[in-house]
């Protein structure tokens, strides 16, 4: 589905990613965990071509997407739900969703709009209730739903999500994670970046651990959960042991 080889990327002269190679197979949820400043967001931005890579190759859905424009990358079927939602706050929920279908519109598949819209509303019935409300007035959880919904409107096969649980109450975050699992069960492939490592690994099939621009550990979710280093650094296991 997606294969990244020796990717180096960053901003100006600052090298953030120092040679990253990852792959995601069709129908998988792959989690990338790591602390602040590890380069997780930069990795997603580079795959989405918002940031131009210094070197390395990105292959998405069988096409070499290295250095394409962001809009062409979306048209390939590779969507990003960015960190902090990035909605259009002064536009309504409905307008936000319609804008997400831009690649379909360009392919003259306008008639698919109602169908896609219905699909999003059945996944997030809450959005249907708020259809005509301005996006900026939604609650945090609803905004996250809208951000995911908007990314899904172009009917992407591959979806990247950057910190979807950020700033949400635990119960709402759990709801979002359930929806992400739903998406996978409906055949989509997901690359998930999370600080909330425990929740991410719970729904993921495999995971990578990133630290200062490098991948340091990779494995199945179970392996990562049981790995003592991962446990200490990202799952807070030591704390438990100390407190016992």
């Amino acid at each position: 589905m997606i294969r990244i080889r020796n990717l180096e990327s960053g901003y100006g002269k600052l090298r953030v990613l120092k040679g990253i190679s990852i792959h995601v197979n069709t129908g998988e949820i792959v989690a990338i965990i790591g602390g602040n400043g590890a380069g997780k967001t930069t990795l997603l931005y580079t795959i989405a071509n918002l940031v131009k890579p210094f070197s390395g190759t990105i292959t998405v859905l069988g096409t070499d997407s290295t250095g394409l424009s962001p809009e062409k990358t979306v048209a390939l079927g590779c969507s990003l739900v960015p960190e902090g939602r990035q909605l259009f706050p002064t536009m309504t929920v409905r307008e936000n969703l319609i804008l997400g279908s831009y690649p379909l519109m360009k392919k003259r598949e306008k008639r698919r709009l109602p169908e896609e819209m219905e699909r999003i509303y059945s996944l997030f019935p809450r959005l249907k209730e708020r259809e005509n409300q301005l996006a900026g007035t939604l609650s945090g959880g609803e905004q996250q739903m809208l951000a995911i919904g908007r990314a899904l409107m172009s009917d992407p096969q591959f979806i990247m999500m950057d910190e979807p649980s950020m700033g949400l109450a635990p119960i709402i975050a759990r709801d979002i994670f359930n929806k992400i699992e739903d998406l996978r069960n409906h055949g989509r492939t997901i690359l998930l970046v999370e600080q909330n490592a425990r929740a991410a690994l719970r729904i993921a099939d495999r995971g990578y651990v990133m630290e200062t621009g490098n991948l340091i550990i990779e494995g199945s979710s179970e392996e990562l959960m049981d790995n003592p280093d991962v446990g200490r650094a990202y799952l807070g296991k030591d704390f438990k042991r100390i407190s016992e």
């Binding site: 918002l50 960015p82 909605l87 706050p89 831009y102 360009k106 301005l134 007035t137």
Partner: protein
């Protein structure tokens, strides 16, 4: 002041006001898609009138106007391609300085191609002595042309921005450029389109007012200042409010002439600009909800 006189002032006020409004709308379109104030907006108005004037001896007026609008639009597009697009992560301030430079450049080029003479397009219908009497006030039919075309521009733009897909994409681009790219929108194309659109609108306005207010190479800057005042008064980015603000400023100016010496006319616009910037930077008509959601 007699009733007829009041009416006369009102008509001249809304004529001038609607031109300010159109210039302000030009500001708003570019501001909305790029966050910059294009101070060359007034020059688009000048170009429309002056180019159409050069064509009038050789072709019918309508064709000359269309050609002038097309050429001005092409210049607008070219400005974006050459001066704006090549900048990598420019600061807003830098882009604004560039547009001020461009406005000077265009003005000087116009002075070289044409000259400093004042010219005017022929009246669209009738001549300078034709007048229509409405409740005792005499107005030129050109005033009706100006009002009609302004109204048409405003309605067409509202339709474009709220009911067409490209218009919505342009609004998205204005709200959050990164998110717009992530939706698959070609943001560079949208920015270019916004320059084309505001150049075209400016040129149309330049042609319609030319018979009334005359056209010369340096008319752009004063118009840009008035248009900017109106854009701020209505709230940057809000085109419907710009129309109301434009009419308000036009009326204030035209009534001020009856009370104060003519020379004080511009003082009103500048004082309003300062007062608004001090006390209500969001503009007169901006809704609270929208202001709260926008980040300036």
């Amino acid at each position: 002041m007699s009733f007829e006189q009041v009416l006369q002032y009102i008509f001249s006020g809304i004529t001038v006001g609607s031109i300010y409004a159109v210039v302000a709308i030009g500001f708003n379109i570019i501001y909305n898609s790029t966050g910059i104030i294009n101070f060359a907006q007034g020059e688009f108005v000048m170009m429309g009138g002056i180019i159409a004037h050069s064509f009038t001896p050789t072709m019918p007026l309508f064709l000359a106007v269309v050609l002038a609008v097309v050429i001005t639009t092409a210049v607008g597009s070219l400005i974006e391609l050459v001066f704006i697009r090549s900048l990598k992560n420019p600061s807003v301030l830098r882009m604004i300085i560039i547009t001020i430079g461009l406005s000077i450049l265009i003005r000087e080029i116009a002075l070289h191609i044409w000259d400093e003479k004042i010219r005017a397009l022929p009246f669209f219908t009738g001549s300078e002595v034709t007048s229509i009497t409405i409740f005792g006030a005499h107005i030129s039919p050109q005033v009706l042309w100006v009002l009609g075309i302004t109204a048409l521009i405003v309605v067409a733009l509202q339709f474009f921005f709220y009911f067409t897909f490209t218009g919505q994409a342009m609004r998205a681009c204005a709200a959050n450029r990164k998110a717009a790219s992530l939706c698959g929108i070609n943001t560079r194309k949208m920015v270019n389109l916004s320059f084309c659109l505001s150049a075209a609108i400016g040129a149309v306005a330049g042609c319609t007012v030319s018979p009334l207010t005359q056209t010369h190479y340096a008319m752009g800057t004063p118009l840009a200042i008035k248009g900017f005042t109106v854009a701020i008064l209505g709230g940057l980015g809000n085109s419907t409010a710009a129309v109301l603000a434009g009419l308000l400023l036009g009326l204030l100016e035209s009534f001020s002439i009856s009370l104060l010496p003519m020379a004080y006319k511009d003082v009103i616009a500048i004082s309003i600009l300062l007062l608004i910037l001090f006390f209500r930077p969001g503009g007169l008509f901006q809704s609270r909800q929208i202001v709260a959601l926008k980040s300036f």
